[in-house]
Amino acid sequence: MNPNNYLILAAILFTIGVYGVLVRRNAIIVFMSVELMLNAANLAFVAAARNTGTLDGVVVAFFVMVVAAAEVVVGLAIIVTIFRTRRSASIDEASLMKY
């Protein structure tokens, strides 16, 4: 299979992720979109690694997974706390830190 197809898929997934982050209001969905973007990038790394026959991209993909896992823990904790205090997971309502 043409390795470019993997990259095209990764680009499509990344775009969906960006779109989700920009337009959705629910914090959980935004979070999922962020994860989607990370995984799109992982896919591109792995495909590139397979293409070149080296392991570098694979290693980076592992790193990204670990970081994403850690980030999920912190991020979800914040979202849960916000939800508890405000009874809502809308990211537009949690906009107190402004000018």
Binding site: V18, L22, R25, I91, D92, S95, L96, M97, Y99
Partner: protein, 619 residues
């Protein structure tokens, strides 16, 4: 020993100023005692000095190192020589007499203690001025007498005119002080020292233009302190102070400090023809200007003030003539100190009897009511117009003689000045003591008490015999010669021609004044339809108007435009920049809207931009 001369009056001033009201009862006696003690000590030192041979007469006292910074070494040293000692005797002698006189004159003044404290302070500062052995310490005394003068001119501080006069004197004096500080700075830069000995020794080696500039700066200083043209305007207003102050500070001692400075710095003036010429011109202008102002004043004290300016003009002129004149400048200074102090005390005595009225048009016929004042004032009058053998004759005649030896025009100016002096003094005599009584209704003239008349009598005796005593007994020419140098003028009109001519001119002035003011009745109100010259003299030769038009108004415009520039341009720039940054940040703040999604969009935009740039640069 020398320090004690200064220390005694300084102690008096300190006790009286710090002691406050507790010293009210005996304060004036303490002040008199301190001044008298200083005089006795001065007399003792004079005797001691006179007993020594000429080379050993100069004594110094090094108290401590005052300023010691790198090459700049200024000792706090005092120095007593033939020139200082005559000043010591004049200042403490006349000073003590005036202290005694003030006991009577200030008897009913609630602030008498403060007055005596300032008088003591003045005596101390003046002694420091003439005993200092370097120019910087002289400057301290110079400022000290300026301070005392300011405090005493504005002594009647409840009178706005007196307060203003004090400030005026202080400010005009500052202009002169700039000259003195410039001179001191130049001396240090050029010679590396500011002591009299150091400067005298090094002066020869200095380059001539620097020497001239130092001389001119010293002349500016002398002009300020001695009320010489063009800084003369403060002296007439200074008459707002109590009369003993006018006698001591603004006639006998402080105003002559400028002459002392010029004579003390003779090493500088000996080397610079230009500076000497400037001094002579200033002296000649002032001697005529002061005499001119004196002719039209109805205020007895202002008349005498004009006369003081004029007489100091004589001294400055003589000092500017170089080694032929220094001695006679000092000689005239000493005789003038005696007769002018006597005249002022006489004027004070008249005022005391006339309810502090100073207008001579309200006097008249006082010779019968105030016999002692009349006699002492009369003797002072004969001395100042230069009738032989009174004191003023000897000194003024010598100055006229020396002036003729240097330049015919300068000689003529001094001769004319002598005539005008006779005119205004005779006018003053006639308006005060002769003619018909023009007293105001509630005035009952009476002779002053003994405490006031005795100093007047002593000074009158000085006015009669002082000149002869100094010339024939003291041999003042050779007494001062080691300090100031002395030279006989080479060729001049001979004394046998000059004395009759001078006396004729003096007599002419006196007769003219007598015909106008003695024979004819004097109107009580000053006539208004008078010539331009009289108007000019009444307005102090428009000195104030000239200062106002030339300096004050432009100064005010300058200040106002500077304030405008400061508040509009400088502040506008700074405030405008702050406002612009503030406005911009208020707008930039709006970017922080709190919406995570908009931050994410910004991030995306940034990332896209970076990607684009990378693509464009790489490819």
């Amino acid at each position: 020993m020398i320090a004690a001369l200064i220390g005694l009056p300084l102690l008096g001033a300190t006790v009286l100023l710090l002691g406050g009201r507790r010293t009210n009862a005996w304060g004036h006696f303490l002040a008199v005692a301190m001044s008298a003690a200083s005089f006795l000590l001065g007399t003792f030192m004079f005797m001691q000095m006179a007993g020594k041979s000429e080379e050993e007469r100069e004594v110094g006292q090094h108290l401590f190192d005052w300023i010691s910074v790198g090459a700049f070494q200024v000792p706090f040293g005092l120095h007593l020589d033939q020139l200082s000692i005559v000043f010591v005797l004049l200042i403490t002698g006349v000073g003590t007499l005036i202290h005694i006189y003030s006991i009577g004159y200030m008897e009913h003044d609630p602030n008498r203690r403060r007055f005596f404290a300032y008088l003591n302070l003045f005596v101390a500062a003046m002694l420091l001025l003439i005993l200092a052995d370097n120019y910087l310490l002289l400057y301290v005394g110079w400022e000290g007498v300026g301070l005392a003068s300011y405090l005493l001119i504005s002594f009647y501080q409840q009178k706005p005119s007196a307060a203003t006069a004090g400030k005026k004197a202080f400010i005009v004096n500052r202009v002169g002080d700039v000259g003195l500080s410039l001179a001191i700075i130049l001396m240090f830069v050029t010679f590396g020292t500011v002591t009299f000995d150091g400067v005298n020794a090094a002066a020869e080696s200095g380059n001539s233009s620097t020497i001239t500039w130092i001389g001119l700066a010293l002349l500016l200083a002398a002009c300020g302190k001695s009320a010489q043209f063009p800084l003369q305007s403060w002296l007439l207003d200074a008459m707002e102070g109590p009369t003993p102050v006018s006698a001591l500070i603004h006639a006998a001692t402080m105003v002559t400090a400028g002459v002392y400075l010029i004579v003390r710095a003779h090493a500088i003036f000996d080397l610079s023809e230009t500076a000497r010429t400037a001094v002579v011109i200033v002296g000649a202008i002032t001697l005529l200007l002061g005499a001119f102002i004196g002719t039209a004043k109805d205020d007895i004290k202002k008349g005498l003030a004009g006369s003081t300016m004029s007489q100091i003009g004589y001294m400055v002129l003589a000092a500017g003539l170089g080694p032929v004149g220094y001695v006679f400048a000092i000689f005239h200074l000493l005789t003038h100190g005696m007769f002018k102090a006597g005249l002022f005390l006489g004027a004070g005595s008249v005022m005391h009897g006339m309810h502090d009225d100073v207008n001579m048009r309200h006097y008249g016929a006082l010779r019968t009511m105030m016999k002692i004042t009349y006699a002492t004032f009369g003797l002072g009058f004969l001395a100042i117009i230069g009738v032989p053998p009174f004191a003023g004759f000897w000194s003024k005649d010598e100055i006229i003689y020396v002036a003729f030896s240097q330049s015919f025009i300068i000689g003529l100016a001094t001769l004319l000045g002598a005539g005008v002096t006779a005119f205004y003094m005779t006018r003053m005599m006639a308006m005060t003591f002769f003619g018909e009584a023009r007293w105001q209704d509630d005035v009952h003239p009476h002779e002053s008490s003994a405490v006031m008349t005795i100093p007047m009598i002593v000074l009158a005796v000085g006015s009669v015999f002082g000149g002869m005593a100094m010339l024939f007994v003291g041999d003042i020419e050779h007494w001062l010669e080691p300090v100031t140098g002395f030279a006989k003028p080479e060729h001049s009109v001979s004394h046998s021609v000059l004395i009759p001519v001078t006396l004729t001119v003096v007599l002419g002035g006196a007769v003219l004044a007598w015909l106008r003011y003695g024979r004819r009745p004097v109107p009580v109100e000053a006539p208004t339809n008078v010539s331009f010259l009289t108007k000019a003299a009444r307005a102090d030769a428009y000195g104030d108007s000239i200062n106002e038009a030339l300096l004050m108004r432009p100064g005010q415009y300058l200040t106002r435009s500077l304030i405008w520039f400061d508040s509009k341009a400088i502040d506008g720039l700074v405030n405008g920049m702050a406002a612009a940054i503030g406005g911009l940040s208020a707008r930039a703040r709006r970017l922080q809207n709190g919406y995570v999604r908009s931050y994410a969009l910004t991030m995306l935009g940034g990332a896209v931009l970076i990607a684009l740039v990378l693509l464009l640069v790489r490819l």
